[in-house]
């Protein structure tokens, strides 16, 4: 009986492994992927990168222009994340099972959040491109919608996790709905919510580059411009500044997190 139990588990694991290998092999055949060539092209790519993709003295002259665009991109990312956080807070309070007013509102809130979250930021950028054209506003709204969807979801989970005990206690003292929300739910979940907003700012800066390429604004557009005009030296300088900005933001947000938690 017992030996059979373990044998069965092992058979299951083997079966899952077999299916995974099969899927992998199938995809290789379908896409005509040459495994050996895939690996051998790595050194060649690195070789090309080293001989072309580096900033020169001439490209450094473009640095002020790059930094100005980078600053705009960072600010748009932060604005999108913070404004989205305010809206998400409201929807999360209505959506969470602990603080919901009624089931109808809760389902609506969760539904809207799911819709906004599951449409990718690139898809939003292209949809909004029709309405707002090539402007920073398009990028801003694309980032805002995705941040809003994601943060609502994260906030709902935060409230569900920390809330129920003290909500019950304050309701039992006779406190009104808004009093309970402001005296119990928000104080207990705020640090974790701030942490999520910081995470969203980081994510937005990363996606802002891609959104910029699509909408023709910010640092993404600048990269696209120089890359396509074969000016690899300036393009590489842009990549380095983006990486630097992301590392800096990550360092700052980690510091803030340590202080508030």
């Amino acid at each position: 009986m017992k030996t059979d139990f373990f044998a069965k588990k092992r058979r299951q694991s083997l079966l899952i492994l077999f299916v995974l290998v099969l899927v992998c092999y199938g995809s290789i055949i379908l896409t005509d992927y040459d495994v050996a060539k895939g690996f051998t092209s790595f050194p060649m790519a690195i070789d090309w990168g080293l001989s072309n993709f580096y900033p020169t003295e001439a490209s450094l002259a473009k640095l002020p222009e790059i930094l100005a665009e980078l600053l705009q991109t960072v600010l748009v990312s932060i604005a999108a994340a913070t404004v989205a956080a305010v809206c998400a807070m409201l929807f999360a309070i209505f959506g969470s099972s602990i603080t919901k007013v009624n089931n109808f509102m809760s389902t609506i809130s969760r539904g809207i959040a799911t819709l906004f979250r599951n449409i990718d930021v690139a898809a939003w950028a292209m949809i909004l491109l029709f309405s707002f054209g090539q402007s920073a506003l398009t990028g801003y709204f694309a980032l805002f919608f995705v941040s809003f969807g994601f943060l609502t979801r994260a906030f709902i989970e935060t409230i569900d996790e920390v809330g129920s005990g003290s909500v019950e206690a304050l309701t039992a003292t006779g406190a009104s709905y808004f009093t309970v929300v402001f005296q119990s739910v928000i104080p207990s979940s705020l640090p974790q919510m701030i942490s999520w907003v910081l995470f969203m700012v980081e994510t937005n800066i990363r996606s802002a580059t891609l959104v910029g390429i699509l909408t023709g604004t910010g640092i993404g557009f600048l990269f696209d411009l120089y890359y396509k005009s074969l000016n690899y030296n300036v393009a590489s300088l842009i990549v380095i500044t983006i990486v630097g900005a992301i590392l800096l933001i990550e360092y700052i947000s980690n510091y803030v997190r340590r202080v508030i938690l």
Partner: protein
């Protein structure tokens, strides 16, 4: 003495076939210390929460302080809840806030939504909170954050929050189930003191039969949503305790009659 609480024919059903309470009847006099004992899932917590309508009873009538609880509208229900303090197994404090802020939360039922949301308390109310904390021996902990306290201290903050409400009755849901024996004794002693010196009625759910027998004026035994014993702790027999817990003679670690 005057009757404070009357529970008549109260039933509670979850869904179509889960019965938590069926036809429960009892009354509690002013200043009485009553323990509700029974196995897990017997409906003790549901019974307690039906009294201040944290859970809505399906049927029956609950009269508290000459008011029919079942018929109250939203505002009146809030006023009723200010007269009933509640204490929980897991303390249910806002752990990131200070001790005194948590105690002041007990006054939120008396406040308008505006001053409740902003947490505006008068000097007098703050002094009252300090006074209550001193009664419970927490004067050293006033400005500490609640997550820095021990379990016993957290529960005392919970009691302080209930006491500042100036309640007529305390509902205690397993107040010592997460505490060590030492802290349990301190908490039970405080509850007994509150009942005898302030004249506040205490209704407490307990898992520990020996504690219930030692502290209570009266025992209510609940089994499968029904009251199977209601009487003095001195008269209860081992057989009756076994009926409550559905156990055979000699299976439980309890000594009846004396301490």
């Amino acid at each position: 003495m005057k009757t404070l609480l009357e529970v008549k024919n109260v039933s509670k059903q979850y869904g179509t076939d889960t019965v938590a309470l069926s036809d429960v009847n009892f009354s509690v006099k002013e200043g009485e210390f009553v323990s509700v004992i029974g196995p897990s899932g017997a409906g003790k917590s549901t019974l307690l929460r039906c009294i201040n309508r944290m859970i809505e009873a399906s049927n029956g009538e609950i009269i508290f302080d000459n008011v029919n609880v079942q018929g109250l509208r939203k505002k009146e229900l809030r006023r009723l809840r200010t007269k009933i303090g509640m204490i929980f197994q897991h303390y249910n404090l806002v752990m990131r806030m200070s001790v005194i802020e948590n105690v002041l939360h007990g006054l939120l039922g008396y406040k308008s939504t505006f001053s409740g949301v902003l947490g505006l308390y008068s000097e007098e109310e703050k002094k009252k909170a300090l006074q209550v904390l001193t009664i419970l021996g927490l004067q050293e902990q006033v400005y500490k954050r609640c997550d820095q306290l021990s379990g016993g201290q957290k529960q005392r903050v919970g009691i302080a929050r209930a006491l500042i409400q100036n309640p007529k009755m305390l509902l205690c849901d397993e107040p010592i189930a997460s505490l060590d024996p030492n802290a349990s004794k301190i908490i039970m002693d405080y509850l007994k003191k509150i009942s005898s010196s302030m004249g506040i009625t205490v209704l407490v759910n307990l898992h520990q039969v020996d504690v219930a027998l030692k502290y209570s004026d009266r025992i209510i035994g609940v089994s499968k949503g029904k009251i199977v014993y209601d009487g003095s702790p001195k008269k209860i027999s081992e057989e009756e305790i076994n009926t409550i817990y559905g156990s055979e003679a000699g299976e439980l670690m309890i000594e009846v009659g004396g301490k």
